[in-house]
Symmetry: C4
């Protein structure tokens, strides 16, 4: 995993980077649930559960988004066989926005009808998409980082997808100030879109045969 070969020691295998990224995604995805707590000392459980409902729906939306981002990351990183310093730094900036999801999800969970709260989550998603776009664009521009046989157009397409998803998500910010429910509609549309695109990306490779 961390093996060192004298012939290509100027390039680093991304294996440890990928393991690290997966670890942060896995922890962030699991920490999301920590915001869903029953109020302590309540005895009226049905009401407590009803009150938890908005936060639970936010949880489902954020879980689906982060899971969708992980799928696209998983798909794109297969094309990358080496990493250099800049790719590692860009990837860690990308991870910063993964670790912020438990915070922004908790802000929306606590204030589900405040446009400002939904803007925090939209901004987080947008910054994630932009930094992911930077990672894939950088890799696509540096041939020596790519796996043999990797087709540039895949990475470029995945960079474009992140830019597209980011654009859709940023729309949720002005929409929330018109009517906060429109932000939820925007997310609920974007999230399956991300998953569906992820699924299609796999299928596409099948079609080529």
């Amino acid at each position: 995993m961390t093996s060192y070969s004298s012939t290509d020691h100027h390039l680093v295998s991304p294996d440890r980077l990928v393991t690290f990224i997966d670890g942060v995604f896995a922890v962030a995805l699991t920490l999301l649930v920590l915001d869903l707590r029953l109020p302590s000392g309540t005895s009226d459980l049905p009401r407590a559960l009803r009150e938890m409902l908005p936060a639970f729906l936010v949880y489902l939306i954020v879980f689906a988004s982060v899971a969708g981002y992980w799928i696209i990351h998983h798909l794109s990183f297969r094309h990358i066989a080496y990493c250099d310093g800049r790719l590692v730094v860009l990837s860690l900036v990308n991870l910063l926005f993964v670790t912020l999801f438990p915070l922004t999800a908790s802000i929306v969970g606590a204030h589900p009808l405040e446009p400002l709260a939904t803007a925090c989550l939209s901004a987080n998603s947008l910054l994630y998409c932009l930094s992911a776009w930077a990672v894939w664009s950088y890799a696509a521009g540096h041939r020596r980082l790519l796996a043999e046989g990797a087709e540039l157009r895949y990475l470029q397409r995945e960079a474009r997808i992140m830019a597209l998803v980011g654009t859709c998500l940023v729309l949720a910010i002005p929409l929330a100030y018109l009517n906060v429910y429109l932000a939820y509609v925007d997310w609920v549309v974007c999230v399956p879109l991300v998953s569906w695109i992820g699924g299609r990306l796999y299928e596409k490779k099948d079609d080529r045969k």
Copy 2:
């Protein structure tokens, strides 16, 4: 780990998916304990420990269930050598129900004698089993995802086991409304059943020799 081979680039190795799933299982299993907190500011430790006892028993039951699910996941996934988009999406839906266990366990820990609380945990287990059944059934129906030499009947059997365990667990919901202790009895019977089945699955492979 993320290597990319031009000959089979239409199919993705499940290695990163498996690492990710293991990460989520490991974090969820460890977060369970965060619900077991002494009430702050108490000076009567023996009483505080006694009051923690029901939540501790719930912890043991949920730990054993999630550990049992991990064993069956571990066993089944060995047969899968490739993954496509739908398998990844199904696996992430499956993970959603893993990340919910710390929440549903905390609900039962706080309200151990409320049928509604036990119904939340039973429903979580049921949804985990159903989504796991969907993963194995999907894989069993797509030969090209399976490892060479994998015998279909193993995966089918493991899908059936998840369906069976799910059926046993859903019984806990009506039982809880008759008498809440019956739900605990149902869980305490189901959990070793899962572990025992897991153990048997390994042994079965020995017997064939």
Copy 3:
């Protein structure tokens, strides 16, 4: 990692089990720090830090213990090349006691001078040691699980070490009821012992050459 070979499909590689165990150890080790929180709303920082000191010392002791257990686990598991159902179940029971350390450490951190609190942590350590002893003993008794060239006496020695450490730690329970500080002395002696033994186990292998 999860590859499936038709020739030895009756035995399972322990790679996923080891990754899972490492994940649980890593999360448990990092969650320990969550108990060290400043009381919210305090303005007298020096006093708040002084009040945190006993919990901080408990943190150091528990961190060193769990790290020591991980070292011995790391050393012992190298000899195991395959796992069967019982080894997996025993390993997950072993993990149960890893996940309990954040709880028992928090009990001692909140009540550092109560013999009952120190007994909880001692009991947790004891149960960890006993379950680790069960894992190594089981493996040592089943030749087909061991790596080629593994020498049985190493595993047997490591099983004996866990039994020895467990015996030393259980002494802390009666000692605490004589004088609670004796329990700390016992831990502070046992913990470097575990680390020192871990170190010696590596060295021993050097000496044999």
Copy 4:
């Protein structure tokens, strides 16, 4: 991963150690965000967000530091092909200071203008750097632990960098007592320095060609 070869069984592959270290880094990095919580029961969201701002800036600084340390760890560990008992113990001492970052970051987040709080974080960083320096120095002094073709001067340089960064960070302690903002300036200068050095270390290897 945990394979055991009879020819070099006196030396242990560092793969499991590296996975474990990455796990702890990933969890610690993600737990940092748990300190950023909205005060419960507040209805004035804009004010709550403004009040969270200092803690958020501390979060960014600590995230960037820990990410920078991980990059340097990643780079240095590539040269290490085997580990012995002392290297494992030194690495776990190093990890102790990783797990403390969520605590010291929360102390500074709660008391951003107290010199004593900033001294806690500076001391944590210093101890991390010193223990990392000890790891790299130890490895550089034991040829048999290094990968074939590893050049000693790289590890020595990385050990020197950790010593240098540690020296810069310890300056923040007296500076904070002059004026607490100087500690922030010191951190904000050191953190990109760490990242920049990390980046350069990769590039250097490119230049040699």
